[in-house]
Symmetry: C2
Subunit: 258 residues, 2 copies
DNA sequence: CAACAGAATATTGTTGACAATCTACAATCC
DNA sequence: GGATTGTAGATTGTCAACAATATTCTGTTG
């Protein structure tokens, strides 16, 4: 009896991820890549048809994304891609800086030689990307570098938060890692983080990890001062998003802008 | 036409809330109060029947709770109330301490006389509760006090995180606010927070807010040393462990269940 | 008696249909 | 003309049935 194929098929089917996971990933991808713009509404029926599933999994995926902060649901109206106000963005950077510092500190207290070497290899690879002016490669390496730190720190909730907040930040569609000078500064900060982790300097690692993200916030502040407006062009149908144009204040070491 | 405010409010209230919100609140209540024990599975059909709805809203509510960290879904098997390991609890306290410090610092930089007076009134009320040894009242006041700080700090994401992490902590079912000495120490720490906020001392408020939560972590550590075991008495049915080949329904590592 | 295959049962995964609600636009009135 | 009301279409909210999968039970076999 020809069983091989049947068995393989059976195993494949058993490992099939529930549709809601596929849908969630796809929606997240579309949102993060801007294929669905900030402030835009997610049409359940349309998305379901395009993805070849029914509306049930789409609705579940939307609820999941809602709790993660990528979309916002309005009763009897629909779910919208979140449109962040400038002060929301600043807050996200603050939170992310704190958690990054926490993760770096945790890793500094438990890092073994293997992870230390791995992080130093990341540094070298990013240095190479800077040399060849390959910004796309640097971007990917940068992402992998930070995720590796979060993973190695072995802090489940903090890592999840860090990743989740990173996705929220991407809603603003800022291109901060652009230009040779920015890359240069970024990897210098990376080097300080790695040095502190390698030295087992817990507080130094915390400070370096937080500072690296705070510099991203500084770039956002500069852009806000220059452009003065919202982070993203407000779509016509985003009335439910709080967007009062009040003065942005922040309580970190960067002082406050008025 | 001049429509009175209470009428508009009444109409708004009558406007039916989607079932998924009601179900989510009810499930959250049941989990937080321990009516569904940690590690226990949520039976969709049973819950739907008990709540008088169909399974759709129950599933959506579960997805929502999953992203919040209260439950964990396993593909083709069900969603379980999260069972926290001791180290997960410690991590939650750390995160909560950081965010509380952030919120207190933000409030110290923007507090007006009204909120300052309000916080001092909270202090006095909690002092009274200590005097009459009314632990239940102190518990409620304590909750309201911290939520008021989070609200007044006007940091949307940080506040949501603070509240959400607070619920996760409750999964461990610890009774830290018990005994006259504990209440005494707790309100002394509250007083330091309020003093820093009233003085507009941003960094002092951050430190006091963080320290207050760190002392909760210390109590958890003491208990762990004394009892040596898990945070929660392991029920016989609560030893569910996701195994190889199962699709754990989360894209991010939401921590382990043990 | 232990181990195993297979049926029976319970539970989750998914779907399409129907009801409730909102939005857009045309008809009506002042 | 501008505001208001009513209607049609689109979209979300909810449900119950069916399919796929996991679990439990049971009889069989070594």
């Amino acid at each position: 009896m020809e069983m091989r194929h049947d068995i393989k098929e059976s195993v494949a089917r058993r490992r099939q991820r529930p549709l809601v996971l596929e849908v969630r990933d796809e929606l997240e991808r579309m949102i993060l890549l801007g294929e669905i713009a900030a402030g835009e509404r997610l049409n359940e029926a349309l998305l379901a048809e395009r993805l070849g599933v029914s509306r049930g999994p789409v609705r579940e995926a939307a609820r999941s994304l809602e709790r993660e902060g990528l979309v916002e649901a309005v009763a009897n109206e629909g779910v919208y891609v979140r449109l962040l106000a400038p002060q929301d963005g600043l807050e996200l950077y603050d939170l992310r800086a704190m958690i990054a510092g926490y993760l770096c500190a945790a890793l500094a207290g438990r890092a073994d030689d293997a992870i230390k070497a791995e992080l130093q290899a990341f540094l070298a690879a990013m240095e190479t990307a800077i040399g060849t002016q390959d910004e796309a490669a640097y971007f990917d390496l940068n992402l992998a570098f930070h995720d590796r730190i979060a993973e190695a720190a072995d802090m489940g909730r903090a890592r999840a938060l860090y990743v989740s907040l990173g996705k929220e930040v991407r809603l603003m569609r800022l291109k901060v890692l652009s230009g040779a000078a920015a890359l240069r500064q970024s990897n210098d900060e990376h080097a300080r983080i790695v040095a502190a982790i390698v030295a087992g300097d817990v507080e130094g690692a915390r400070a370096a990890g937080a500072a690296h993200h705070t510099s991203g916030k500084r770039k956002l502040l500069e852009r806000l001062r220059r452009e003065g407006g919202a982070c993203h062009a407000p779509a016509g149908h985003a009335d439910h998003v709080p967007q009062e144009g009040q003065t942005v204040t922040t309580t970190t070491d960067l002082g406050r802008i008025t």
